[in-house]
Point group: C2
Chain length 376, copies 2
């Protein structure tokens, strides 16, 4: 619309409206689309027609994992317009991770042409428990590096935008809940990666728990006399179903696997020893999910992480075990068990979803902290 049409529509004087549009144009929230020269009937200078710039609002999602950071940028129409990943090691300090993330963001924005003229907010996923209630440090006693203290302040300072921080597994659960085929009110999400974590949706809401630890399925004990976990307990699910644990179990069974790619090849050639290991992992995972599902009665259980795409038999076996565990319940609406649809970037996408703050999943979720009071 032209400035004149806009002024009539919103009932402002042309002078006032012109001031507003000048400011919006300067901030690149709107752009000049064309002029009305072609259709103009009267005389005088053709009027510029203004339109919303899809790039007028950007939402930045950042997912810090144990060994890599993913970033994703969405525009005002909620489309992902840029994404990227940068690896580091489990011992990389947080200051360095932040620098790597900032450089990555500059790079993907440079490549894609995205600009942060109107950055609306930043969602950040961090490993380990996070209460989501206040800006501040993620206290992660069982990670080997200092906690993600000050991540939110560092981003708020650099980009001058409001920041939401939450546990990255919980954000991935959110991303699966809104991206998957179902529209579940009750969902249990678990992700098998370097560690094992998860997130819950109960009665249509993402669950934080009393201290921000809800969904920590990786540290449920499955074998009290099992391997020592990095958390200090013995026999946690993570000691059996994390990627390093699965690769180790395959090696213990005589297969010389080092990476997920090796595992993919072993699965392809139907290595029987590897198959047994994977089925055992699926059964153990199914027991933990079964106990959680007996407590929560979900519509859907989602098993995420690169591992389950490489080894779908884990999902298959976990689903069978889950069905056995839930056998006492009338199967009016049988539980759906599926692999995650999102791949590695799920946490970054979940972080953006948390920013949009429009999902009923996020009702009563804390509002973002940081620069100013903004609605998304």
């Amino acid at each position: 619309m032209s400035r004149g049409e806009l002024a009539r529509r919103v009932g402002l004087s042309r002078t006032t409206l012109s001031e507003i549009t000048t400011s919006l144009l300067e901030r690149r929230a709107i752009v000049v689309a064309d002029t009305d020269a072609a259709t103009r009937v009267g005389s005088g200078r053709p009027a510029e027609r203004l339109t919303l710039d899809p790039a007028s609002g950007q939402f930045l999602g950042v997912d810090f994992g144990h060994r890599r950071v993913h970033v994703a940028v969405a525009d005002a129409s909620h489309e992902i317009i840029a994404a990227g990943v940068e690896r580091y090691t489990a011992t990389t300090p947080w200051t360095e991770r932040l620098d790597l993330a900032f450089a990555l963001i500059d790079r993907v924005c440079g490549t894609s042409g995205a600009h942060f003229g109107a950055l609306q907010g930043i969602g950040i996923g961090v490993p380990g428990p996070y209460s989501g209630v206040r800006a501040g440090a993620a206290q992660v006693p069982w990670t080997r590096h200092p906690a993600a203290a000050g991540v939110d302040e560092a981003f708020a300072e650099r980009f001058g935008a409001p920041v939401v921080v939450d546990n990255n597994m919980r954000l991935a659960a959110l991303a699966e809940a809104i991206s998957g085929p179902g529209n579940p009110d009750n969902l249990i999400y678990v992700r098998l990666a370097d560690g094992v974590g998860g997130g819950l949706v109960v009665a249509g809401r993402l669950v934080t728990g009393s201290g921000g630890f809800a969904g920590e399925l990786g540290h449920v004990t499955v074998d009290p006399s099992g391997r020592t976990c990095q958390c200090g307990k013995r026999g946690c699910l993570e000691t059996i179903a994390s990627v390093p644990a699965v690769l180790q179990a395959c090696r213990d069974a005589g297969s010389s696997l080092e990476t997920l790619e090796d595992l993919a090849m072993a699965v392809e050639r139907r290595d029987p020893a590897v198959d047994v290991v994977l089925r055992d992992v699926g059964t153990t995972l199914g027991r933990v999910l079964g106990a959680a599902a007996m407590a929560l009665d979900p519509d859907e259980v989602v098993i995420g992480g690169e591992l389950v795409h490489v080894a779908p038999v884990i999902v298959e076996q976990a689903a069978a075990t889950l069905r056995y565990e839930l056998y006492p319940l009338p199967a009016s609406a049988p539980l759906a068990v599926r692999a995650g649809v999102l791949r590695d970037g799920d946490g970054a996408i979940g972080a953006i979803a948390a920013l949009f703050h429009q999902s009923p999943l996020l009702a009563e979720y804390p509002t973002p902290t940081g620069a100013g009071e903004q609605d998304f």
Copy 2:
């Protein structure tokens, strides 16, 4: 207040107000407390002073267990004014249970002088899963008797009041959440009785799950090669921590116990074989609660049922196991683990609480079905 004072206060004519008070007096919602004769300064007939009758609104709570029915009646001030219990056997058909419940209600109301002049609603707890979404049958595949079909209609017809039906363990969880010392937003409740059931409060709301089965902790598998459960699976928590299972385990350990009273005496004389059994039960229970707590991160875990009052060591041992299971979590606010404060009538009290429908715990809970659309 007198009718004159009331009319001034609410701004109605004395004639209109008189019509209303006459109707309320007839329905016994209000009563004449006294007259103002003693304090009256002017002349004329002393004016009657009217007051709310605490008995003006009654709320009936009914809790059908596997072997007994509890009823409780609350008045308009939410005080319990009458309560009672009637036993039956696990094979008593539902028609007979209903007759027993109706006779019990008549009896306790006769004894207490309670009358149902203004019955506001009926809350009913039934064993086994219940979705709470619609009036109708509780489908309980693993109970040996026909499901509680038509319970709601039978009560609605007899008393002409709206009826809410829900799983009795969930109602007990509600009763504990609102009666206990804390005011927990996140609570896991488990009850050890003839069976083992439970209920969850997540983010300040009672959880039903997708099909009404949330909280069924009794059928979490704790030993895949254990005893056959009445549900058909092996080694459910119920096969270890229900009252009959605990008594059986004590007998297997050489103690000749038949009843909870026998157990109480054995606990009192510090029978070492019984102590070992009870500690094992506590440890197993603690593992199941630990897995649930790792998923849900509650403020409080409550273990209810007569058994834990007889054998508090079960709670003690479960709490110790739970603390071990949750060891990886920073103990900023350590989890409270306690025995239920409510005794046998908890389900009936929870059923009344569900009726009041005022607790934020019940936000978005289905509204009662039955006679008319009433607010509580």
